[in-house]
Symmetry: D2
Subunit: 281 residues, 4 copies
C-alpha cells in the first residue's frame, strides 16, 4: 500500500493589526485580521521533514507588518492582492496563495456635531470580509459581510409545505423572520472601487430583505441574491448563507392570556440553516 499526500496547505491565522494614519487635525484607524495559506510543492516537508521549501508562518506575519508599514491597508482587497503578488514573486515553490481577511469597523466618536479627530468606538460583531485566491495564472477576488443580524415583523409567511407523519409545524401567514446575513460575492475584475461597491451591496441586500414578500427562507435568499446579480455588473456570483434565529410566539394560554403577536421567545437551537450560490449564466 502506498500513501499519497492529497490537498494540503499551511500558513498563519489571525495576523492582527491596527493601522493609524495621522493627517493634520484628523487620525484614522483600521483594524484587520488576516489568515494566509500557501499551496505548493510541500511533499518533501511532509514525507521527509525537509523544510527547505517552507517559508515560516512567522515570516508571513512579518511580511504583513512590513507592507502595512509602507502602504495603506484600505481597501482590504488591494492590500490582499499586494500580499499575494509579493508571496508569488519571491516563492517559486508556492502555486497558490489564499487570504481570508476581515475588518473590524471603528468609527469616529461624535463631538459637537462633527467627528472627533482622534477618538473612536467600535461597532459590534458585524465584519467586512474579503477572500482572495491567487495563482500565477489568475486571481479571484471575493468580498463579503458576516454576522449581520436582521429581523422583520411583517411580510413573512411559511405555508403549503410538504407534510409527513412527523410534521407538527403549523402553517404561518405572518411570522417573524430573523436571519444572520453571511454573504460573499465574486468580482469579475480586480479593478473596481471595492469600498463604495461593498457599501452599495450591503444596502441592496438589506433593502431586498426588508421589502421582500417572503414565502420561505429560500424565497428570501433568492430575492437577495437576485437583487445583487441584477444590479451589479461587476459581480458574477454570490453565495448566501442565512442561518435563521427562531422567535417562537409564547404560548400564554396556560396563563389565561392570548398573545396576538406580542411576546416572542428567542431560541438558540435548533435553528434552520440555508445556503445557496446564485450565478449569472
Amino acid at each position: 500500500m502506498a500513501i499519497r499526500l492529497a490537498e494540503n496547505s499551511y500558513g498563519s491565522s489571525r495576523i492582527h493589526l491596527l493601522r493609524v494614519s495621522r493627517q493634520q487635525g484628523r487620525h484614522d484607524v483600521r483594524e484587520i485580521a488576516l489568515s494566509i495559506r500557501f499551496e505548493g510543492d510541500f511533499e518533501a516537508a511532509h514525507a521527509q521533514g525537509d523544510n527547505r521549501k517552507i517559508l515560516p508562518p512567522d515570516t508571513m506575519k512579518n511580511t504583513v507588518y512590513a507592507l502595512a508599514r509602507q502602504h495603506s491597508i484600505e481597501p482590504l482587497e488591494d492590500f490582499g492582492l499586494h500580499l499575494i503578488e509579493h508571496f508569488l514573486t519571491y516563492n517559486a515553490q508556492v502555486t497558490r496563495v489564499v487570504i481570508d481577511a476581515s475588518e473590524s469597523i471603528w468609527t469616529h466618536l461624535p463631538h459637537g456635531g462633527k467627528p472627533h479627530p482622534s477618538a473612536f468606538s467600535r461597532s459590534g460583531d458585524q465584519e467586512r470580509t474579503s477572500f482572495l485566491s491567487g495563482t500565477r495564472e489568475r486571481t479571484h477576488v471575493r468580498a463579503g459581510i458576516e454576522n449581520l443580524l436582521v429581523l422583520k415583523t411583517s411580510n413573512s409567511a411559511f405555508e403549503d409545505f410538504k407534510k409527513d407523519p412527523y410534521t407538527t409545524l403549523q402553517e404561518e401567514t405572518d411570522r417573524i423572520l430573523s436571519v444572520i446575513i453571511n454573504a460573499n460575492w465574486l468580482y469579475t475584475e480586480e479593478d473596481v472601487e471595492f469600498g463604495p461597491l461593498w457599501h452599495a451591496v450591503r444596502k441592496t441586500l438589506l433593502e431586498a430583505f426588508a421589502e421582500h414578500h417572503s414565502h420561505s427562507l429560500q424565497h428570501t435568499l433568492y430575492a437577495m441574491g437576485d437583487a445583487i446579480l441584477g444590479n451589479f455588473e461587476n459581480i458574477s456570483e454570490i453565495h448566501l448563507s442565512l442561518p435563521s434565529k427562531h422567535f417562537h410566539l409564547a404560548d400564554l394560554a396556560p396563563l389565561g392570556m392570548d398573545n396576538p403577536g406580542t411576546v416572542f421567545l428567542p431560541a438558540d437551537e435548533p435553528h434552520a440553516i440555508i445556503a445557496a450560490t446564485l450565478k449569472k449564466s
Copy 2:
C-alpha cells in the same frame, strides 16, 4: 460543630424575550434578558428539603412573560420595578428581589431616507443594562452600559510611574489608549426619565473619554466618573470598570524599518484592569 446557612439566593437566569408593539404603519421591537433572584426565608428548603416556600424559577419566567404581555417593557427600569413589586406582594417569604436586566438594541433599517416600518438590524455587543434591588423598605435602581469598546490615538500618556527592579515598561508620552467601558450608576429616585437619562450619560462618558488629557487609566476613569456626578443631579454614585486593550507599537527594526506610530499589534492578554466607585459626599 454546627453548620449555618449564610447568604443564599435562588432564581432564574436568561429569561429572554422579544416584544413587538404594532402601531398602524410602524412596528417596534425590544429584546431583553433578565435574571431574577430571591432572598428570603429558605432555611427549611436547604436543610430539610421542604419546598413549601420555594416559588419555582419556572414561575418567575412565566410571570415575566405575563407582565410583558400586559405592559410595555420600556424603559427596562420601570418594567423591573413592576416585577419586584409583583413578587414582593405575593411572596411573604421573600425579603429581597434582585433583577439584572439587559437590552439588545434593534434599530429600524433605513428605507428611502426614513426608518423602515417593520425591518430591523441589531447593533453589536453593546448592551443597555439595569440592576434593581428591592425590599419592602426600599429599592435601589442602577442603570448601566456594558461592552462599549473605545480607543483614542492622542492625548494619552503614562509617565513618572513607580519603578522596581522588574520594571521594563518605557515611559510613554503619546500612546494608544483603548478600554471597554463598563459602567453602572445609582439613581437617587425611582421617578426619573430613565430612557433620556441613559442616552445623556452615555454621551457624557464618551465625551469625557475623548477629550481628557490622560495621564493614566486611573486618571481617565476619574475624569469620566467626575463628569457624570458633576452633570447629573439624579445620580449619586457611579461604578466604572475599564479593562484596557493593549495596542503595542510593532517593533519593525528587525525588518529594517522605523514605525512612527503607524502599525500597532492588538494583544488580548495580559491586559490591565481598573475599577473604582465615585460617590457624592
Copy 3:
C-alpha cells in the same frame, strides 16, 4: 442576463438531545447534536416561493426525536445512516442527505471503586464527530475527533527552513509543540465496528504525536496520517487540521535571568495553521 441557482441546501442545525437507557441497576446517557441538510429539487421554492417540496426543518427535528425514542443512538454512525435512509425513502425530491453529528462525552462518576449507576460528569471540549453523506447510489461515512489539545516538550525541532529578508524566526532544535487535533477519516464500508475503531484511531493518533521525532508541523501531521492509513484496513483517507498553539520562551534577560526552557508564554494569535489529506493510492 439570466440567473441560475447553483449549489444549494437547507436543513436544521443543532438538533440536540440526551438519551437515557435504563437497565436494572445501571443507567447510561448519551448527548448528541446533529445538523441535517437536504440537497434536491428546490428550484421552485427559491424562484417562485412554492413550498410543496420543502419538508420543514422542524420535521427533521421531530424525526430525530422519534427515531431516538425507538432506537439506540450508539454508535452515532448507525443512527445517522438510519436517518439518511428514512429521509431518502420518504422524500423523492431529495437527492442527498448530509449529516454532521457530534457527541459530548459523559462518563459515570466513580463510586467506591466502581462506576456510579446513575451519576455522571462531562469531559471537556473534546468531541467525537461523524460526517455522513448519502444519496440513493451510495453513502460516505466519516468519523472524527475535534478539539483534542495536545503538547510535547521534547522531540520537536524546526530548522533549515526557507528564509527571506523578512524572516526573523530563529532555528529551533528543541521547542514546545502544541496543536489542536481535528481529524476525520473515511471508512471503506458501512459495516464496521464504529465504536471500537474510533477509540483505536484516537489512541494511534496520540501515540504518533507523542513518539514522532518532529522536524515541523507538516512532518508530524504526515506521521499521524501515515500511522492511521498504515494500521487500519477499513480507512482509505484521513484529513488532518492541526492549528498550533504557540508557546514562546519568555525573554527574561531584561529581568537579569536566563530561561533554560522553563517559563513559556502561551499566545492565542497569530497561530500557525496546517491541513492536509492523505489517501491510500
Copy 4:
C-alpha cells in the same frame, strides 16, 4: 458638591504562563493564568494624574514571570502567597493584594501502560482555582473548582413547592438533575497540603452530589456544602454556585409516541441559578 473616590483597585488580568520542569526521564507541565489587583493609596493618581505610587501592571506581569522562573508554581496557593508577600514587601503604598488564579490541567498521555515522559493532553473546561487576599495583617486563602458539569438520572425530585396563578410547572418525582459545580472554600490556615486537599474536596463534592436523595437544588447544594464542612477540619466556609442545566422530557405525544424517560432536550436558557454560603458556627 464634593466627589469622593470610594473602593478602587487596579492590576493585571490574564497573566498566563506554562512552566516546564525537566527531570531526567520525565517532564511535567503546569499552565496557569493569574489576575492581580492592588488596593492602596491611589487617590492622587485618580484625581491629579500623579503616577508616582502606581507600579505598572506590566511590572506585575514581569514579577510573575521572574518568580515562576525561580520557584515551583505548584501548588497554586503557595505561589500566590509568595507573590502577595513580594508585593507587600516592596510596595508601601499597597494595603491589599488580591490574586485570582486558575490552572488548566494537563495530563501525561498514556504510553505502553505508563505515562509518556514528555507528551500531554489537556482536559476540557474544568479548572482548579485559587483566590488569595492579603494585607499586612492577615491573608485569606480560598481554593475552588469551576465548570465541573455533572448530571444524575435518579434520586432527584421537585415536589410540594409554592404555587401561584402563573405556576404551570408539574411536580416531578423522578427528574434529571444537572448542574455546573462552581465552588470555593476558605482554609483556616495557610499551612495545609493544598494539593491533596483539593482532590479530596473534589471527590467529596462529587460523592455528595451522586448519593444525595434530592428534593430540590437547594437541598442538594446544602448536602454538598455540609459534606465538606463535616469532613474537613481545615475548612471553615464554603460557597457554592450551581447553575442548573435543564433537560426537558421531550413531548412525543404529537408524534404518536410515549416517552418513558428516554429522550430529553437540553435547554440553554432560561436556567435556574442557586448560590449559598455555608459556615461553621
